[in-house]
């Protein structure tokens, strides 16, 4: 549904996007990841026709955003939610302005406010909103047209833990209805429970684009073992071909064999186990490794 093809964008002497190509598919949540300054926001703005690329194309269902017959019915977007509403205008008026511009009935403003839990704040001016409420208002604006495609730039910023869980459920539900959801973040672990696919960029270039499950499969796997018989267990594991390191707390970190093999060995030798747990490479470690390795 979303196709970015060979996009190049230079701001002055800075090459913000360098031949960037990726897709986001319907019915899936695609996490668009990269450190701050990697070019995520610029990419999304190119996709929405706000920034003109030097080269390349970014299309939705084959058409650039600005040339879609009904853009706001096709794509809902949250960009820069911290701004985005005039501080002197009420939440409801903000949405009604957008309904006017996009040709939606005024009732959609109230419906989406209620849907996003902002009904009580409808007549309050946006200037007094918390960052979390601004995020919700921006989401309400994005959902006005009930669009099949959603593009969200760092939507979790400013949300409390309950809000983040709520957002996760919302995005899963929207993708579950067959919509295309593209959501950017600079923290992989923040979106790991939400996304199906990941697109990682760094310095404006694509690092990797693949299903999250594939990415997780590249994690370095390890087992953490605590045992009063560690002095016997460690040499036995090493003899079996595993790599073993002993931590300050006396626990062993074992790579090269899985937890079942360690458990079986201890059972066979009648050694006592106090802990046997997976200690895989963390998500952030994977992310940082990918970003450092680059394309």
């Amino acid at each position: 549904m979303i196709a970015v093809r060979g996009v190049v964008k230079t701001f002055g002497a800075t090459r913000a996007l360098d031949d960037l190509t990726f897709d986001a598919a319907p019915g899936r949540v695609t996490g668009f990841l990269g450190p701050n300054g990697a070019g995520k926001t610029t990419t999304l703005r190119v996709l929405l026709g706000l920034v003109h690329p030097d080269r390349g194309t970014a299309t939705i269902g084959g058409t650039p955003y600005a040339r879609l017959p009904s853009p706001a019915r096709t794509v809902g977007a949250v960009l820069d939610a911290a701004a985005g509403a005039h501080p002197g205008r009420t939440a409801r008026d903000h949405l009604r302005v957008l309904c006017d511009a996009a040709g939606f009935p005024a009732g959609r403003a109230d419906e989406t406010l209620a849907y996003l839990g902002l009904a009580d704040a409808a007549h309050r001016r946006a200037g007094g909103f918390s960052l979390g409420m601004r995020q919700r208002l921006a989401l309400a604006a994005a959902l006005l047209g009930d669009p099949p495609v959603l593009v969200l730039d760092e939507p979790a910023n400013g949300l409390d833990p309950a809000g983040i869980r709520w957002l996760r459920d919302l995005l899963r539900a929207l993708a579950g209805e067959g919509r295309t959801v593209l959501v950017s973040s600079h923290v992989l672990s923040e979106v790991a429970q939400t996304v199906d696919d990941v697109v990682v960029i760094a310095h404006g270039r694509l690092v990797t684009a693949r299903p999250l499950a594939d990415l997780l499969a590249t994690r370095r796997r390890a087992v953490r073992v605590r045992s009063p018989d560690a002095g016997l267990l460690a040499p036995a594991l090493i003899a079996g071909g595993a790599r073993v390191t002993r931590g300050d707390d006396g626990a062993l970190t074992v790579e090269g064999v899985d937890a079942a093999a360690v458990g079986d060995l201890c059972h066979a030798r009648d050694w006592t186990l106090h802990e046997l747990s997976p200690a895989h490479e963390g998500l952030e470690d994977v992310f940082l490794r990918l970003v450092e390795e680059g394309p």
Binding site: L98, A101, G103, E111, A114, G117, L118, A119, A162, A173
Partner: protein, 275 residues
């Protein structure tokens, strides 16, 4: 957070179905764009606030002319026909506030980041700016009405109390209509300037310095060109000074300035990035 978030699920059912797909007629897109821009102005308290300031400013101007009739050689001598015409045109002083409203309507989009949702709801930048011009003209018209009503509402009864040259019905009509049209066009000029400059403070300073100081200086240095800048065209519309263009020429000149500046803003905006 004010409320417990609702459980996610299907968005509201009675969503406008994709039946409306297909390119809507250009006319309806234009109507929508104008409606959105008018609502933007109508939903901000500052729009009325500036109308209030304009009323107060015009009141001071009008009262000053009338109250100074007692002094020796008043700056505006109401015993002359030109003096009476100048008095009747003091409502046009609202043009400063109309300009400010126009500038703020355009630069506010960039200042508050609303340009992004605005262009997502309706991606055509020429249409957005043209609609902004129309909405600014309407807001300016409000300022002009306020200016004309305050000015004539004070001046006409007060004139009965002082020595003055005869007041022609044509002079009153020209002052009133000229104030409406002229002040409205200044709001369009402001919107176009704001769209070109984008930065609110820079646009306000540039606009007001030009109108208050720049044109005054121009007049002082090269008086013969005084009828040509925007304020000269406004004077032609209202008849506030004797040495001006005919009213229709003034109207065309001022409309020309507004349209050229708006066209320039559109041409520039098409190429710019919204970051």
């Amino acid at each position: 957070m004010t409320a417990t978030p609702p459980a996610p699920g299907r968005p509201p059912e009675d969503v406008p179905a994709p039946a409306g797909r297909g390119d809507p007629p250009a006319r309806s897109r234009a109507v929508r764009a104008v409606r959105a821009e008018v609502r933007k102005l109508a939903t901000l308290r500052s729009t009325l606030g500036f109308a209030g300031l304009a009323a107060a400013y015009v009141l001071v101007n009008t009262v000053a002319v009338l109250a100074l009739q007692g002094v020796e050689e008043p700056p505006v001598d109401l015993t002359t026909r030109d003096g009476v015409r100048t008095l009747l045109a003091t409502g046009a002083a609202a043009y400063l506030f109309a300009t400010v409203v126009g500038i703020m309507s355009a630069t506010g989009e960039y200042r508050h980041g609303t340009i992004t949702p605005s262009l997502l709801a309706q991606p055509s930048r020429p249409l957005l700016l043209a609609a902004k011009g129309v909405a600014a003209a309407l807001a300016g018209l409000l300022q002009g009405v306020v200016g004309a009503v305050v000015c004539l509402g004070v001046a006409l009864p007060w004139l009965a109390l002082v020595d003055h040259a005869p007041v022609g019905a044509g002079d009153v009509a020209r002052a009133a209509l000229g104030t409406l049209a002229g002040v409205a066009l200044f709001a369009v000029l402001g919107a176009a300037l704001g769209a070109l400059v984008r930065n609110q403070v820079v646009a306000l300073v540039a606009g007001l310095v030009w109108l208050v100081l720049g044109e005054g200086l121009l007049l002082a240095l090269v008086p013969e060109v005084g009828r040509w800048p925007p304020s000269g065209a406004l004077a032609a519309l209202t008849g506030s000074s004797p040495d001006v263009l005919p009213p229709v020429a003034g109207a065309l000149l001022l409309a020309g300035y507004a349209l050229v500046l708006l066209a320039a803003a559109i041409a520039v905006e098409r190429r710019r990035d919204v970051t």
